[in-house]
């Protein structure tokens, strides 16, 4: 992570002081509920079903061991001992007490963290590839870009009251692991032979009730113009985005209404006033940030599998399964990235206990360089683990339920908090996730199915990304009862939206419906290399719909 200098530190402290004063005035009755709302949101504080929820930013998903320990401490001291890692590289605490929030923010500031702009109609926490800087397929390290954007967006005076929330994602690898197509702005780093580093700029993607894939507004933006160009996009949006209807207020609606051609012209015209001005980036700043991103001191290790590891792989099939499923290639020979699944059968997806967080912080120091990553699949990652350390790490993980070998598989369920916590929910997500874990407890069968992204959202707001799940499940309200609508064929990258297979189902019908679809897939796939989502792309949804609703039966809308 980026290490603050004295100015960065002062700015977060001044922000805490401001919020402390606002909270004090709210509690004293000097600031009304309505007036306080936008300011508490901009500091990460929602009011949910049971209690206030605090959302803390994990900028570009990178944590140090001491930061993770602090998150554990907050869970223990100010919550019920649990934190929920979200699809947006944030952590949420579901049981905080409003008067304590300024103290929590101060505790975060001590370890160079904040909850700034994690909610509200402003530029939110920028997200990226959770393997940034360590992935084998990386073109450029997106963390520098993300930190530039973090600084630019933090307390941006002009964009504190946008028409709606604004989410930026950056990807620097060949594979798009940041879902740039479904963000308000998606930046894909491009290395141009003549012009050097730049970005392909996509605007107007998003999920929610009107899911859309973003449009390319600029094929190549030289990196030095990043901030002035972002300013121009945001200014056009701030001035012309709809404010009369919050469901039509996202930038995607503006881009559609204007057409991308006109939107592009507006941005380019606006940009001319600021292009090449003082906010144009200089190499020294990029170098300064690079130097402040802690770089691990990798040892020169032999490539290939060390003998002890090979032996363990040979005689321990559980270990071998985990090894195949939960690792991701590292760019440095002899190292790997280990995904710690927060999706054990009894765990609400993305939840980690304070004790687990402390343990993970310890392992990050023992087996790595004291760094932890948060993935938008709601898992944690230990980057930089030497291959020779894998057996010891695995043995450490097992008793903590952190070695479930299901990364990328059906049971790696991505789910929003749903009706158990969220006041906007139509249906609960967590009991359904549990029912699916129970249904698909046969790990060998789940592995035979192969890669499946299963995403659950408790309502149209789509916090669980169900539109881009290979299987997406959406909670709907049918005459006051919880029902679930199933869609298939979505994908994160290149972003593709799933198609609804038929009328929504009662909660107890969902596990069987999924099983029926997956059994149909096993019969229909060309070979085991054809993933579920590829079979859906090849054949369309009909055979899967038929598997769920029975072919000849008239589909009666319940």
């Amino acid at each position: 992570m980026y290490q603050y200098d004295e100015i960065d530190q002062r700015l977060v402290e001044e922000r805490v002081a401001r919020f402390r004063d606002q909270t004090r005035r709210f509690l004293a009755g000097e600031l009304s509920e309505d007036d306080f709302r936008p300011f508490r949101l901009q500091n990460g504080l929602y009011i949910q079903r049971h209690a206030p929820m605090l959302r803390v930013a994990i900028p570009y998903g990178v944590l140090s061991a001491s930061q993770l320990r602090r998150l554990a401490w907050i869970a223990r001291t100010h919550d019920r001992g649990v934190g929920h890692f979200t699809t947006r590289q944030n952590i949420q605490y579901n049981w905080v007490k409003l008067p304590e929030v300024p103290d929590i923010l101060a505790a975060l500031a001590e370890v160079q963290m904040h909850a700034t702009q994690t909610s509200g109609n402003c530029v939110r926490n920028t997200t990226t590839d959770h393997f940034a800087g360590v992935a084998a397929d990386e073109l450029v390290d997106p963390r520098v870009t993300c930190e530039l954007i973090r600084q630019w967006s933090t307390g941006h005076p002009e964009f504190a009251f946008l028409p709606r929330k604004f989410k930026i994602a950056v990807n620097g690898a060949r594979e798009d692991r940041a879902a740039t197509g479904v963000h308000d702005i998606g930046l894909q780093a491009v290395q141009d032979a003549a012009q050097g580093l730049g970005y392909r700029v996509q605007v107007g993607g998003g999920l929610g009730r009107t899911p859309m894939v973003g449009e390319v507004v600029r094929e190549f933006l030289p990196a030095c113009h990043l901030l002035t160009y972002l300013d121009a996009i945001l200014r056009v949006y701030n001035r012309y985005g709809r404010r009369d209807n919050k469901y039509k207020a996202r930038i995607k609606i503006l881009v559609k209404a204007m057409t991308v051609e006109r939107f592009r012209r507006e941005v380019e015209t606006e940009w001319q006033h600021w292009k090449d001005g003082p906010a144009t980036l200089v190499d020294e700043e990029v170098a300064r940030i690079e130097a402040r991103l802690k770089k691990p001191a990798y040892r020169a290790l032999p490539a290939g599998i060390p003998a002890a590891l090979a032996a363990r792989l040979h005689h321990d099939t559980d270990f071998a399964t985990w090894f195949r499923q939960n690792l991701h290639p590292h760019k440095v020979p002899g190292y790997t990235n280990v995904v710690l699944s927060l999706k054990s059968p009894d765990q609400p997806p993305g939840d980690a206990s304070a004790a687990q967080m402390d343990a993970i912080a310890d392992w990050s120091e023992r087996f790595g360089f004291g760094e932890i990553r948060v993935s938008h699949e709601q898992n944690l990652i230990l980057p930089d683990v030497a291959l020779s350390d894998l057996p010891a790490l695995y043995d450490a993980l097992c008793p903590w339920e952190l070695a479930t070998p299901n990364v990328g598989l059906l049971t790696n369920i991505i789910a929003c908090p749903g009706g158990d916590y969220c006041a906007l929910a139509n249906a609960r997500s967590l009991p359904l996730a549990k029912a699916l874990q129970d249904k698909f407890a046969d790990a060998a069968w789940v592995r035979a199915i192969g890669p499946v992204d299963l995403n659950i959202s408790g309502c149209m707001n789509s916090c669980g990304h169900h539109h881009v799940g290979h299987i997406g499940i959406l909670g709907v309200d049918k005459h006051g009862r919880e029902y679930y609508q199933i869609s298939i064929g979505g994908a994160q990258a290149p972003a593709r939206l799933g198609k609804v297979i038929g009328p929504s189902l009662a909660p107890e019908e969902v596990p069987d419906a999924l099983q029926a679809m997956l059994e149909a897939y096993l019969k229909l796939r060309l070979d085991p290399a054809e993933k579920f989502v590829d079979t859906v792309a090849r054949l369309g949804i009909t055979p899967f719909r038929d598997a769920v609703y029975a072919p000849n039966q008239e589909v009666a809308c319940a």
Partner: protein, 165 residues
């Protein structure tokens, strides 16, 4: 007289909305753009200000900028952030040097950002006080971004700091 904040000082509000019935009276008058266009030729003594909404196109104001001492941007609800862009455009693109005043839903918690966007006058909403507005200004000792208040980004200051020793 009502109190407002101008250039971080509390001062009496001398501005009065124009009404056709009292058009002969002097003093500081605030006009809507159409009103000013209509009476401009026979305007009498006194300073002129324009009263605009947050969705005002600054281009339409351009011809009048040299003759108006104040632009009052009416913020209907403080969560409407369009005035922030309008302020910056007036200052940084159109070079307007007179007073830009926030009127309407203006409270202690919003003036800091408005000031950074080029506003130097603040008229508190009913129930809010000029004293409180003053307290809400200048809350941060630094800023990352360029804005009216700091035309250079922090990274350039960091740089000159280091190269300057």
């Amino acid at each position: 007289m009502r109190e407002v904040v101008v250039n971080r000082h509390i001062v009496p509000d001398t501005w009065v909305r124009f009404s056709p019935e009292q058009s002969e009276a002097g003093g500081d008058r605030l006009y809507r753009l159409e009103e000013w266009q209509a009476v401009r030729a026979q305007a009498g003594e006194g300073r002129v200000g324009l009263w605009v909404e947050t969705d005002q196109d600054p281009e339409a104001l351009r011809p009048y900028l040299p003759e108006v001492a104040l632009i009052a941007i009416h913020i209907g609800s403080f969560t409407d952030g369009r005035g922030h862009s309008l302020g910056r455009l007036l200052r940084e693109v159109y070079g307007y040097r007179g007073e830009i005043r926030a009127v309407g839903d203006v409270i202690q918690d919003t003036v800091n950002e408005l000031e950074r966007c080029g506003f130097n006058g603040f008229s508190p909403r009913p129930g809010e006080t000029a004293d409180n507005l003053l307290r809400g200004l200048g809350l941060f000792s630094e800023a990352y971004q360029i804005s009216v208040e700091r035309p250079e980004p922090l990274f350039r200051r960091r740089l000159s700091h280091r190269s300057g020793g």
